[in-house]
Amino acid sequence: MIQLSNALVSVSHVGDVLLTMTVLSVLLSLGSNRLGALVKIMAFQGIVVSLIPFFLEHHGQMSTGSIILLQIMLLIKGLLIPGFMYAAVKKIKIKLEVEPIIGYNASLFAGLIFILLAAFITNRLQISLPVKNELLMIAAITTLAAGLFLIMSRHKALTQVIGYLMMENGIYLIGTALAKQTHTMYVVEFGVLLDLLVGIMIMGIIVHNINSSYDDVDTALLGQLKDN
Amino acid sequence: MESILSFCFAVLIAPLLPAVIQKVKAYFAGKQGPPLLINYYTTIKLFKKGSVYSTSTSFVFKMGPVVGFTTSLMMLLFFPMGEVSPLLSFHGDVLILFYLMGLGRFFTILAALDTSSPFEGMGAAREAFFSTLAEATVFCILILFFRLTGSLSFNEFFSGPHAMNLMGEYGALLILVVVGLYIVMLTENSRVPVDDPATHLELTMIHEVMILDHSGPDLALIEMGAWFKLLFYSGFLARIIDPFHSENVIVNALLFYAVVIFVYVTVGVVESITARYKMNLVPKFILTPFILVFFVTILTMGVLQ
C-alpha cells in the first residue's frame, strides 16, 4: 500500500487540470482537420484519461493491482492504440484531410453545446449521485457525446474509429465518476481493455482493407448494402 | 273422383282458353279472329307431322319439350281448380312445384342452346334472367301466404279459415298481390308487354325464339306445356279474385272458369292496348310486383301483431 494522497499536496487540483485538459482535447479533436493531428490528440487524451482516477479524491487509496492496471492502461491507450492508428494513417498516403460531414466550426459549436448539455445533465443528476464531482461528470459526458458525434459526422472510417475510442474514454470516465469504490476486479477491467484493443486492431485491419479496396477510407463508399 | 274430373277438365280446356285471348285481340283489331278451337286443330296437326332436327342437336334438344310439358302438367296436378281439391297436395308442395317449373325452364333453355343458333341463345338468356326476377316475386307471395295461412300448399292456401281471397280476411292486402301476380303471369308466359309471341322479328322475342327449331309433336308438347302454365297462373289469380261461392261443386267450377276466362280476356285487352316494352325496361317492369308484394309482406308485421 502506498499512501499517494499524502504524498501529493494538491491532488484534487491536478485532477481538475487533467479533466480540463480532457475537455480541451475533445474540442481540439472536433476542430482538427488532419488525421495525423487527430491521432496525436487521441494519444494525449488517452494518457490524460488514464491518469485521472489516480488524482481523484475518493480514489485516494490505490492498491498494487490498480497501479499495474494503470500502467497497462497507459500503455494501451497512450501508446499501443495511437501507435497502431498512426501506422494506419501513414499507410493511407493520399488524403489526410478529415472530410467532415458537419464542418469544423459547426463541430466546435456542437462541442460547446455538448459541454452545456453535460453541465445541465450533471446538475440534474447531482442529487442522486454518490460522488460529488461535477467537473468529472461534465468531462465524461462531453467526451462520450463528442465521440458519438465524431462517428456520425465524419466521412473517414479512421475518424470513426477515433470517435469510438473517444466514446470509450467517455464511458470509462463515467465509470470512474460513478463508482464509489473501485470494485477490485482488475481481471475484469483488463478484459475490457483487451476487448478495446482487439476491437481497435480489427477496425484498423478493416480500415486497411477498405483503403486497399477503394483507395480511400471514405465511408460514403461503403453504401452498397442497402434496401432502398 | 271429383279431383280426377277437375284435373281432366283443366287439361282439356287449357288449349281452348288462349284462343279467347286471340279472339279479344282480333276484336280490338277489328278482325274476326281464328275459331275458338284453333289450338286443338293445331295440336292434332302437329302430332300428325314428323320432325326435322338440326345436326347440331343432341338428346337434350329432344328432352326439352318433354320436361317442359311434364312440369307444367305437374302444376295442374297440384293446383285446386275450382273449389275442388287437387289430385295431390301436401304441406310444402308449392316449393317443389315452383322448382319443377325451374327444371322445365332449365331444359327449355338447354334445348334452345343445343341448336347453336345465336337467336335462340339470346332468347334463352332473357328467359333465364326474367324468370329469375319473377321467381323472387313468386316467393314473396308464398311468404305472404304462409304468413297469413300458415301453410305451404296450394290447396291449403285457398281452403280453411284464412283462405286467400279478395273477399276474405286480408282482401285489402291481396289487391296488391293480385297486381303482382298478374305481372308475374305475363312474364312467365311470355305475354305482352314483356314478350310478344306474335312479333315477326326473332331478335325481339323471348320464348318464341327459343323454340324456333322444334317441330311436329315436339312443338305440340311445348305449346301444350305453355297452355297448362298459363292456365295454372290464371287459375291461381282466379282463386284469389273469385268472389263467388256456391255449395254445388259444378256451379263453383263454372263460376271459377268464368273468372279464369275473365283473366284471359284481360290479358287479351292488355295485349291489344299496350306495346311490348323495350328489352332494357323489362327488368324494371318485372321488379315492380316484387316491390309491391314485398311491401305487403312487411305490412303484415303490423297486421298480425
Partner: protein, 489 residues
C-alpha cells in the same frame, strides 16, 4: 440457486473447459492445414456438445464461481448453440471446399473461437464478464463475415463491427449504471447476476432502469432489435452461409441472453413492468421493420436476415409479455435457431447452385434442386408457423399469453406483422421454389453432405414438437420462472 450450490459439491469443477477447449483448438486450427483443421472442427464440436450436455445435466460446475455459473437459461442457449454448431460445422466442411474460399483455416479457427466466446456468454455470471464475452463474439465473428473478401463483405464487416461496438459500448455504460444503482442502494455484493438477484429489491430503481435501458440498447444491437438492427441484414447476407447460420442460429440467442439477464434483474427488483414494456415495444418494432423489408426484398439471404430480426422481435415480445408467452418465447428461441440455421444452410446451397444472392436470379428450385428445395421450403413452412414444426406452438403460446395478459393492441400489431411478413416471405419463397428460372445454369450441384445437416436440424424441430424431453421442459420452466413466466399463467 440452491441446485447449483448442491452441484458445486458433487460436480467436476471444469465448466470453463467448455469455452477453453474451442479457444485452444481454434487457435491451433488457424495454423493447421485445411484437412486437419476440419477434423479438429468436428472433433471439437462433438466434444463441446458432450461437455454441454454434462453441464446441462449438472455434472460439471464452474471453477471460477465469481465469474461463471450454470443457469438454466444459459444452459438452454448453450445447448442450442452447441447442437446447431455441430451440424453447421459438418455442413461447412462440404461448403468450404465448394465455395473455394482460400482462407479456410481462418474459418476453422475463427468459428471455434466464436464458439468459445459464445459459450462464455452463456456461462457468464458477472456483469462485466458478460459484456466482455459479448464484445468478444463481435470481434471473433468479424473475420467470418469478411471471409469472402469482397467489397460488400468488407462493408458488411465494417458496419457490423462499428455498430455493434458502439452499441456494446453503451451496454458497458449500462453495466456502470447498474453498479451505481448498487452503490446507491447501499448493497455490497459481487457484481454477478446471481448475487444481484438476491438483493435486487434494494437497488436504486431509477438507475437500475437507466442501466436496463442501456443494456437493452447495447445487447439489443447485437441481438438485432430494431432500430439497432441495421448491421444485421448486411452481415448475414455477406457472410458465407455457415457463418450466417451461426450468426443467426447461435449469436443472436447469446445476445438475447444479455437482454434476458437484464430483464431478470429488473423483474427481481420489482420493475418487471417497465422492462416488459420496453421489450414489447422493441419486439413489435422489430417485427414491423422486418415486415417492411421482407416485402419486395431482392436478396434471399437478406430476407432470411430480416426474418431473424422478426423472430428476435417475437422472442423479445414473448419475454416481455410474460406468463405463458415466456414459455412460448423460449420454445421459439430453440426452434428458431434450428430452423433458421437450416434455412441459411439451404441458402448456401442455393448460392452455390445459382451463383447469386438475388431472388430474381433463382427459380424453379423444385425441379433443379429437389433436395435443397425440400429443406428450404420445409424450413420456410416451419418459420412461418406451420405444424409439424415447433414455431407453430411457440407463436400460438405467445399469442395466447398476450391475450391472457390483456395486451390487445400489442397482440393485434403482432398478428398483423406476422401476416405481413408471411405474405412478403411466401411471395419470395414461392418465386424461388416454383417460378421459371431465366438462366438455369447450375454451377454446383447439391449433394447429401450439404442437405443432410439441414434435414437433421429440421427433423430436430419436428421431433421437439412431437416429444419434448422432460429434462428440457424442466429446464425451460426453471429458466422462465425467474422472470415470472410459467405455463399456468
Amino acid at each position: 440457486m440452491q441446485s447449483s450450490l448442491d452441484n458445486l459439491k458433487e460436480g467436476l469443477k471444469m465448466l470453463e473447459l467448455i469455452m477453453l477447449i474451442p479457444l485452444l483448438t481454434g487457435i491451433i486450427a488457424m495454423f493447421l492445414p485445411v484437412r486437419l483443421g476440419r477434423g479438429i472442427l468436428i472433433v471439437t464440436a462433438l466434444l463441446h456438445l458432450q461437455l454441454t450436455v454434462f453441464a446441462w445435466l449438472g455434472k460439471i460446475t464452474p471453477a471460477l464461481p465469481q465469474y461463471f455459473t450454470v443457469t438454466n437459461e444459459g444452459m438452454l442457449i448453450l445447448l442450442v448453440t452447441s447442437f446447431v454448431f455441430l451440424f453447421i460445422s459438418i455442413y461447412a466442411i462440404s461448403y468450404m471446399s465448394e465455395a473455394e474460399i482460400s482462407s479456410e483455416p481462418i474459418y476453422n479457427g475463427c468459428t471455434l473461437l466464436f464458439l468459445a466466446t459464445m459459450s462464455m456468454v452463456t456461462m457468464a455470471d458477472h456483469l462485466i464478464v458478460l459484456w466482455i464475452a459479448i464484445e468478444a463474439t463481435t470481434l471473433m465473428s468479424a473475420p467470418l463475415i469478411f471471409l469472402h473478401r469482397s467489397k460488400t463483405a468488407l462493408e458488411a464487416t465494417w458496419k457490423y463491427v462499428m455498430i455493434c461496438s458502439v452499441g456494446i459500448a453503451l451496454a458497458l455504460l449500462g453495466c456502470f449504471f447498474v453498479v451505481l444503482a448498487m452503490d446507491l442502494g447501499g448493497v455490497h455484493v459481487p457484481i454477478t447476476f446471481t448475487s444481484l438477484g438476491t438483493v435486487a429489491q434494494q437497488l436504486d430503481p431509477v438507475w437500475l432502469k437507466a442501466g436496463f435501458i442501456f443494456l437493452v440498447i447495447g445487447y439489443g444491437t447485437k441481438m438485432g432489435l430494431a432500430p439497432m438492427h441495421t448491421w444485421l441484414p448486411d452481415a448475414h447476407s455477406e457472410a458465407p452461409s455457415p457463418a450466417s447460420a451461426l450468426l443467426s442460429g447461435a449469436l443472436l440467442n447469446c445476445a438475447f441472453l444479455g437482454v434476458y439477464r437484464g430483464h431478470q434483474l429488473m423483474y427481481q427488483a420489482g420493475l418487471g413492468a417497465f422492462s416488459s414494456n420496453i421489450l414489447i415495444g422493441f419486439g413489435l418494432f422489430s417485427m414491423l421493420i422486418a415486415a417492411i423489408f421482407i416485402f419486395n426484398q431482392t436478396g434471399y439471404k437478406r430476407m432470411l436476415a430480416y426474418s431473424s430480426i422478426e423472430n428476435m422481435g417475437i422472442i423479445a415480445f414473448g419475454v416481455g409479455i410474460g406468463g405463458l408467452a415466456t414459455y412460448g418465447a423460449m420454445l421459439h428461441l430453440i426452434h428458431h435457431s434450428l430452423i433458421k440455421s437450416s434455412l441459411f444452410l439451404s441458402s448456401g446451397n442455393i448460392l452455390l447452385g445459382y451463383g447469386s444472392k438475388l431472388v430474381n436470379k433463382t427459380g424453379n428450385m423444385a425441379k433443379l434442386f429437389p433436395k435443397t428445395f425440400t429443406a428450404f421450403f420445409a424450413g420456410f413452412a416451419g418459420i412461418s408457423g406451420f405444424p409439424p414444426f415447433g414455431i407453430f406452438i411457440s407463436e400460438l403460446l405467445i399469442i395466447m399469453g398476450a391475450f391472457q395478459q390483456g395486451r390487445m393492441i400489442s397482440v393485434s400489431i403482432f398478428i398483423l406483422a406476422l401476416v405481413l411478413i408471411f405474405a412478403g416471405a411466401s411471395r419470395l419463397v414461392t418465386k424461388m421454389c416454383f417460378s421459371r428460372c431465366n438462366d438455369p445454369e447450375i454451377l454446383v450441384e447439391e449433394n447429401l453432405a450439404r442437405t443432410l445437416p439441414s434435414y437433421a436440424l429440421l427433423l430436430t424441430s419436428i421431433v421437439l414438437c412431437i416429444w419434448l424431453p422432460d429434462s428440457l421442459y424442466q429446464t425451460i420452466l426453471s429458466a422462465i420462472a425467474t422472470i415470472g413466466g410459467g405455463v399456468n399463467g
